[in-house]
C-alpha cells in the first residue's frame, strides 16, 4: 500500500524490531551451547533444537544435561558455596548490583532474544519482563547488603537446585537466582527446554558481573535433567515453578530427605467484577490478565466472575475489545498477542477448548497462517462444574460465569483446588477490603491485575504451591535458622511393669474433638505407665475416623480465623492463667509421665505458662506490612492464618511441646488438630480441661492421642488440612511430606532433628502459622 491508500485505510503496518543483534549473539556461540558450570562453558554434547514458535525456525542447539552434567554443576556450586556464603553481604550486593546494571544495559538484546525464543510480544519482553528482572536484582542487592544487620539469625541453605518454566524465562530466573545468591547460596538452575536462550545469555553476563565461578551454574535440558537435580543428594533446596502435576511429583520425590522445597504452581485465578466497577477498565484489565503472554501465566485471571446484572453489557464490551487485539509476529512492536510457546502447547489449548460447552467466542482478529497461534477466546455460560472452570488451560482462553452477591462471588472464587491469585474490581472500598481477605489466594489485585514487584511477595496456597518469592518473606525460602541440631532419638513409653500399681480411682482420658471429650472411634486405649510402674491412666488410640472428626470440627470453627486478634490474645492468655493455677498438678503429672525431677517438671510447667503468654502477646503484634512498590498504591503483605493445621507434638516435652504448638497456631487464628506426645500423652489430655475452662471455642483446638506413625498418613493425607507440622521422635517426616502431595499442603517437619523447646523460636513459628497474602491496592481519584 502506498501513502495515499494508507491515508484512507488508516491501517497499522508492520513495525518489526530488529532481530539481528540477537542472532549475532547466537552466531557468536556458533549456534550451539554447552552448560555453564563453574564459570565456564562445557563442550556442547548431546543436544536438542530450540525453535522460534512464531516461525518454527531453529534458533540454536541446546545441550541435553545428563546426570553427570548435574553432578558437575552441583560439585561446582558446592565448592563455591562456603566462600560465597562467608563473604560480606556488601560483596554479594556488588555482584547483584552489577547483574542489575548489566541486564539494563543489555535490555534490548535480552528482550529480543526472549521474544524470539518464547513467542511473547516484544512489547511485553521489553516493557515488563526485562525491567522486572533488573528490579529483582537491584532489590536483592539491597537484601545482600542488609543481611548481616537485619537477618543475623539466618544462614544460607547451601546449594539450591532451581527449575523454572518457559512462560517468563528470564524473569523466573531472576526470581530464583537473585534471592538465593543474595543470601549466600549457590545455584544450579535449569531453564525450561523450550526457552533456554536468555538463561544462557545471562550466563554470559555473569562473567562480566564478577560472579565467582560456581556461584551460578546453568544446566539445560528436559524433564530428565530436572529430575536429576531434584534427586541429587548434595542439593539442599529445590525451588520449582511450573505445573501442579510436576510440582506434586517433586514433592513426592523429595519427601523425607531433608531438602527444603518451595513450589510455585498452577492456578485458575478468579477475576471478579462487581456491578459498580469501572467496566471499561475491568475489561482492559482482562487484556492484561488473560491475553498477556498469550494467557501462559500461572496467575492469569482466567476465571471471569461477573455480577449478573451487568454480565451481558460486560460481555458485549469485552467481545468488542477482543476484536481489537492484534495477533501476529511477536517481534512486531504493534502486536498484542504473540505465539504460544510450542506446537504441543497449542494442541493442548485447542483440544481443551474443542471439548468445552458454553458459548465460545473467538476474537475477530487476523491469525497468521503459520506458527503457533491461538486467538483470544471467551467462553461464557459455563458453570463451576464444567471442566474448563476448574482446569488450568494455560492459553489465551477466558471462561466466565455470573454471581448474584458478594458472598456468592467469594464462594465461586474459592471453589477451586488452586489458590494463586485473584482480581476484584469495584469502586467501593468497603467491598474491596472485605472481599480481598476472603479469597483463597496468595495474591489479590484490587482494580488491577498481574502487577509484580520484587518487594511484594508472590506465591500461592492450596495446590498452587507454597513459599513466597520477593520481599522479606521470600528470603525465608533461601535461609534457615542458624545453629546446630542433633538427631532426635525415638522415645518409647515406659513398659508395663510386672506388677501393676493401679490407682485408687480410675481416671479416663478421652480425645478432645469439637469442644467435647470423645471416646476413640476404634474403641482401643493404651495404658500409660510411669517409670516406677504406676498405672497413670489410659490414652485413647485415635484412628483415621477420629482424625476425620477432628478435622471436620476444626474446619467448622472457621469463625476463629476471622475473630479479632485481641480476642485471640485474651483466650491464649487465659489458657496460660488457668494452666498456672494448676502448676502443681501438671508438674506432678510430668514427673509421673517422664520421670523428671520436681524442679525440672515445675520448670516445664512454668515455661509452658510463659510460652502461652508469649503467644498471647504475639496474637495482636504480628503486624502486616505495606510494601513500597513502584506505583501509586500499596501492596499489603497481610498475615493470614494458614487454616486447619495438623501437628504432632514433641514426645520429649509433653506439655511445653504441646503448648509451643497450640500457642502460635491459635494466636495466629488457625484451628488445630494436635496429636499429643506419644509416650507421655496424659499431659495433653489434662490440658483439654484447661482449654475447656479458657473459652476456647469448640473445634479450634482438637487433641488426639495415639501412635504417631499410624496417624501421620491420615492427617498428612487429609485433603481438608492446610498444613502439617511434626516434632515427633517417630520418623514421620518422609510419610508426611509424601502424603502432603495430595493437596500440596504446607509441611514443617523435623527430619529426625531435635529442637530446643526452651526457645519459643517465634520467628519460625510465626512464619509457619501464617500465610502472607499480598493485596495490591492502587489508588487515586
Amino acid at each position: 500500500m502506498n501513502v495515499p491508500e494508507i491515508f484512507e485505510t488508516m491501517e497499522y503496518g508492520p513495525a518489526p524490531e530488529s532481530r539481528a543483534e540477537a542472532l549475532d549473539w547466537i552466531a557468536g556461540h556458533k549456534g550451539r551451547f554447552g552448560h555453564y558450570i563453574g564459570g565456564a562453558w562445557t563442550k556442547p554434547g548431546k543436544a536438542f533444537e530450540t525453535r522460534n514458535p512464531a516461525t518454527g525456525e531453529v534458533l540454536a542447539k541446546i545441550a541435553q544435561g545428563s546426570g553427570k552434567d548435574v553432578d558437575a554443576a552441583v560439585a561446582a556450586a558446592r565448592k563455591a558455596q562456603k566462600a560465597w556464603g562467608q563473604r560480606p553481604g556488601h560483596d554479594r550486593a556488588r555482584v547483584l548490583y552489577a547483574l542489575a546494571r548489566i541486564v539494563q544495559k543489555q535490555s534490548r538484546l535480552f528482550a529480543v532474544l526472549e521474544s524470539l525464543d518464547n513467542g511473547k510480544p516484544i512489547r511485553e519482553a521489553r516493557d515488563i519482563d526485562i525491567p522486572l528482572v533488573a528490579r529483582h536484582f537491584y532489590y536483592h542487592a539491597g537484601m545482600a547488603q542488609l543481611q548481616e544487620s537485619e537477618l543475623p539469625h539466618r544462614a544460607p541453605l547451601g546449594v539450591c537446585g532451581q527449575i523454572i518454566p518457559w512462560n517468563f524465562p528470564l524473569l523466573m530466573l531472576a526470581w530464583k537466582i537473585a534471592p538465593a545468591i543474595a543470601m549466600g547460596n549457590t545455584v544450579v538452575l535449569k531453564p525450561a527446554e523450550y526457552t533456554s536462550l536468555t538463561a544462557l545469555l545471562f550466563a554470559d553476563i555473569c562473567r562480566e558481573a564478577g560472579v565467582p565461578p560456581g556461584v551460578i551454574n546453568i544446566v539445560t535440558g528436559d524433564g530428565a535433567t530436572g529430575a536429576a537435580i531434584v534427586e541429587h543428594p548434595d542439593i539442599d533446596k529445590i525451588a520449582f515453578t511450573g505445573s501442579t502435576e510436576v510440582g506434586r511429583r517433586i514433592r513426592e520425590a523429595t519427601a523425607g530427605i531433608g531438602k527444603a522445597l518451595t513450589l510455585e504452581l498452577g492456578g485458575k485465578s478468579p477475576y471478579i467484577v462487581f456491578d459498580d466497577a469501572d467496566l471499561d477498565s475491568a475489561i482492559e484489565g482482562l487484556v492484561d490478565a488473560i491475553w498477556f503472554n498469550q494467557g501462559q501465566v500461572c496467575c492469569a485471571g482466567s476465571r471471569l466472575l461477573v455480577q449478573e446484572g451487568i454480565a451481558e453489557t460486560f460481555y458485549v464490551r469485552l467481545r468488542a475489545r477482543m476484536d481489537k487485539l492484534r495477533m501476529g509476529d511477536p517481534l512486531d512492536k504493534c502486536i498484542d498477542v504473540g505465539a504460544v510457546v510450542d506446537p504441543v502447547q497449542l494442541k493442548t489449548i485447542t483440544d481443551l477448548v474443542a471439548g468445552s460447552g458454553g458459548e465460545v467466542y473467538r476474537a475477530a482478529t487476523d491469525i497468521p497462517a503459520t506458527g503457533c497461534y491461538y486467538p483470544p477466546t471467551l467462553i461464557t455460560g459455563l458453570s463451576p462444574a464444567d471442566r474448563l472452570m476448574q482446569e488450568e488451560i494455560f492459553g489465551p482462553v477466558l471462561v466466565g460465569t455470573t454471581f448474584r452477591t458478594p458472598a456468592e462471588a467469594v464462594a465461586l472464587a474459592n471453589n477451586t483446588r488452586y489458590g494463586l491469585a485473584a482480581t476484584l474490581w469495584t469502586e467501593n472500598v468497603n467491598l474491596a477490603l472485605d472481599i480481598a481477605p476472603k479469597l483463597a489466594a496468595g495474591v489479590v489485585w484490587v482494580n488491577a491485575t498481574n502487577l509484580f514487584d520484587a518487594a511484594a511477595g508472590f506465591g500461592g496456597v492450596r495446590e498452587s504451591g507454597f513459599g513466597r518469592e520477593g520481599g522479606w518473606e521470600g528470603l525465608l525460602a533461601y535461609t534457615r535458622p542458624k545453629g546446630q541440631s542433633k538427631a532426635l532419638a525415638k522415645i518409647a513409653p515406659y513398659p508395663a511393669p510386672e506388677e501393676a500399681d493401679a490407682p485408687a480411682m480410675d481416671r479416663t482420658a478421652k480425645l478432645y474433638i469439637g469442644g467435647k471429650q470423645a471416646r476413640p472411634d476404634g474403641g482401643y486405649s493404651d495404658a500409660v505407665w510411669s517409670n516406677s510402674g504406676k498405672l497413670l491412666g489410659h490414652a485413647a488410640r485415635a484412628n483415621r475416623k477420629d482424625v476425620r472428626n477432628a478435622v471436620e470440627a476444626a474446619r467448622g470453627a472457621a469463625a476463629w480465623s476471622k475473630t479479632t486478634a485481641h480476642l485471640r490474645a485474651q483466650i491464649v492468655y487465659y489458657l496460660g492463667e488457668n494452666l498456672s493455677a494448676r502448676t502443681g498438678e501438671f508438674a506432678d503429672r510430668l514427673r509421673d509421665l517422664t520421670g523428671a525431677t520436681k524442679a525440672k517438671a515445675e520448670a516445664e510447667v512454668d515455661a509452658a505458662v510463659t510460652r502461652l503468654f508469649t503467644w498471647a502477646a504475639w496474637a495482636d503484634k504480628h503486624d502486616s506490612r505495606a510494601k513500597p512498590v513502584p506505583m501509586r498504591g500499596v501492596a499489603l503483605a497481610m498475615n493470614e492464618p494458614v487454616g486447619v493445621i495438623g501437628a504432632f507434638a514433641a514426645d520429649e516435652a509433653p506439655l511445653l511441646g504441646l503448648v509451643s504448638v497450640v500457642g502460635p497456631a491459635l494466636a495466629m487464628g488457625n484451628r488445630l488438630v494436635v496429636v499429643a506426645s506419644e509416650p507421655y500423652p496424659l499431659a495433653a489430655t489434662d490440658f483439654y480441661q484447661i482449654a475447656e475452662t479458657s473459652d476456647v471455642p469448640p473445634g479450634v483446638l482438637n487433641i488426639l492421642t495415639g501412635p504417631h506413625a499410624e496417624l501421620a498418613p491420615q492427617l498428612a493425607g487429609h485433603m481438608d488440612v492446610d498444613a502439617v507440622w511434626s516434632f515427633s521422635s517417630s520418623d514421620l517426616s518422609g510419610t508426611i511430606e509424601r502424603e502432603s502431595a495430595g493437596n500440596l499442603k504446607r509441611t514443617w517437619v523435623n527430619h529426625g532433628q531435635d529442637r530446643d523447646w526452651t526457645d519459643a523460636a517465634a520467628g519460625e513459628f510465626l512464619g509457619a502459622a501464617t500465610e502472607i497474602k499480598t493485596v495490591w491496592v492502587p489508588y487515586g481519584e
Partner: protein, 340 residues
C-alpha cells in the same frame, strides 16, 4: 474525505478525492439530538483513575506506526487539526496567516514525494472577533470554529454567552466551541449543566457545537465521565477536553475517559459523538498515539474530521518536520516549513 461537521464543503469532498486518488463512500452522520437527562446513568458512571492511567501509560508502547504508515497517519493527523490561535494579541493579519497555513499545511514538494494531493487542516479555530476575517480567508474551503460563551472561564452573564454564540454563527462560524460552567460539575448539579448545554446547543442551530469540559478544572476523572455524558445527552456534537488555558489540558487518561463515554453513548443511542483533545499535543508522536487510541478504543470511523479533531497550534510544525524526514531520510529544521 467528507466533512459533514462543517456541513459545507463540496470543496472538501473534491479535495479529498484528489488527495486520496479515489472516492470514499460519503458517510453522513446522524446528528446528536438531545435526549432527556438520565441521572441514573450519569451517577452510575465510574472511572477508575489508576487503571485508566495504567492503560494510558502502556498505549504508546503497544502501538507503533512506522515508515509509509507513519507518513500516512501523520498526513491524516494534519487533516484533523483545528489550527488554532486564541491570543489577546491576535490581529487580522495573524489570522489570515493562520488560515493560509490551514489551507496549505504541507510543502507541495513533500506532498508530491508522498504521492499525495493537496490537503487542509480540519478547521481553523479563533475568537469571535476574528470569525469574519477567518471566514473570508478560508473562502468556504474549511469550516471556521469560534470559541464562545465567555471562553475560557465561561463566567460572563448567561444571556451574553448565548448572544455570543448567535453572533458567531451569524458571522459565519460553522462550529462553536462552548465552555461549560465548571461549577455545575464541581457541585454535582447535573441538571444545571444539562440545561446550560441544551441552551447552547439550541442557540447554535445548524452550527455544530463542541462542549469544552475544561477537564483540568474538574478535579476527578469521575467528574469527567459524568460531565461528558451530560453534555452528550444535551446534544453536544463533540466533547472537547480543554480550552488550552487551564494548567492541565488534554492528557491520555482524560482522553480515555471521554472516548469511553462516547463509546458508551454510542452503544446506548447509536449516535456517534466527536472528540477533540486540545492543548498539550505538540509532537507528531503524540498525535500517532492519539490516533491509535481512537482507532483501538472507538474504531476507524472516529479517525475522520467529522468525529475527531486535534485542538493544536504547534503540532503541525512537528509533523511537517517528520514528513520531511520521511521523504529525505534526514532530520529536518523548523525554518524549512512555512509558518502559520
Amino acid at each position: 474525505m467528507q466533512n459533514p461537521v462543517a456541513a459545507v464543503p463540496s470543496e472538501t469532498d473534491t479535495l479529498s478525492k484528489s488527495a486520496a486518488g479515489r472516492t470514499l463512500p460519503l458517510v453522513q452522520e446522524q446528528r446528536n439530538e438531545p435526549m432527556p437527562l438520565d441521572l441514573d446513568w450519569v451517577r452510575a458512571a465510574a472511572a477508575n483513575t489508576s487503571a485508566i492511567e495504567r492503560r494510558a501509560a502502556t498505549l504508546p508502547g503497544r502501538r507503533s506506526v512506522k515508515k509509509d504508515h507513519q507518513a500516512a497517519w501523520l498526513l491524516r493527523a494534519i487533516t484533523l487539526i483545528d489550527l488554532t490561535t486564541l491570543s489577546g494579541d491576535d490581529t487580522e493579519g495573524r489570522v489570515k496567516r493562520l488560515c493560509a497555513k490551514a489551507l496549505n499545511p504541507v510543502r507541495k514538494d513533500l506532498l508530491d514525494a508522498l504521492g499525495m494531493g493537496p490537503i487542509t487542516t480540519g478547521a481553523v479555530c479563533v475568537y469571535h472577533d476574528m470569525v469574519p476575517t477567518a471566514v473570508a480567508a478560508v473562502a468556504g474551503r474549511l469550516p471556521v470554529a469560534a470559541v464562545s460563551t465567555g471562553f475560557p472561564a465561561g463566567l460572563s452573564p448567561f444571556h451574553l454567552r448565548l448572544a455570543e454564540i448567535e453572533e458567531s454563527v451569524k458571522a459565519g462560524a460553522k462550529e462553536i466551541d462552548i465552555v461549560i460552567s465548571r461549577r455545575h460539575v464541581l457541585t454535582g448539579n447535573w441538571q444545571a449543566l444539562y440545561d446550560e448545554m441544551l441552551a447552547f446547543r439550541a442557540t447554535c442551530g445548524e452550527a455544530h457545537v463542541k462542549a469544552i469540559l475544561a477537564t483540568g478544572e474538574l478535579g476527578a476523572l469521575r467528574n469527567v465521565v459524568r460531565a461528558s455524558l451530560v453534555c452528550m445527552m444535551a446534544g453536544a456534537d463533540f466533547i472537547k477536553t480543554s480550552t488550552g488555558k487551564e494548567s492541565v489540558n488534554a492528557t491520555l487518561p482524560v482522553s480515555l475517559v471521554m472516548i469511553r463515554a462516547i463509546r458508551a453513548y454510542h452503544e446506548a443511542t447509536g449516535i456517534r459523538v466527536g472528540y477533540k483533545p486540545a492543548g498539550g499535543i505538540s509532537r507528531a508522536k503524540d498525535a500517532l498515539t492519539y490516533l491509535a487510541m481512537m482507532k483501538d478504543e472507538l474504531g476507524d470511523r472516529w479517525l475522520k474530521p467529522d468525529l475527531f479533531r486535534f485542538g493544536a497550534s504547534s503540532l503541525l510544525g512537528d509533523i511537517e518536520r517528520q514528513l520531511e524526514h520521511h521523504v529525505t531520510g534526514r532530520y529536518s529544521a523548523s525554518y524549512r516549513h512555512g509558518m502559520a
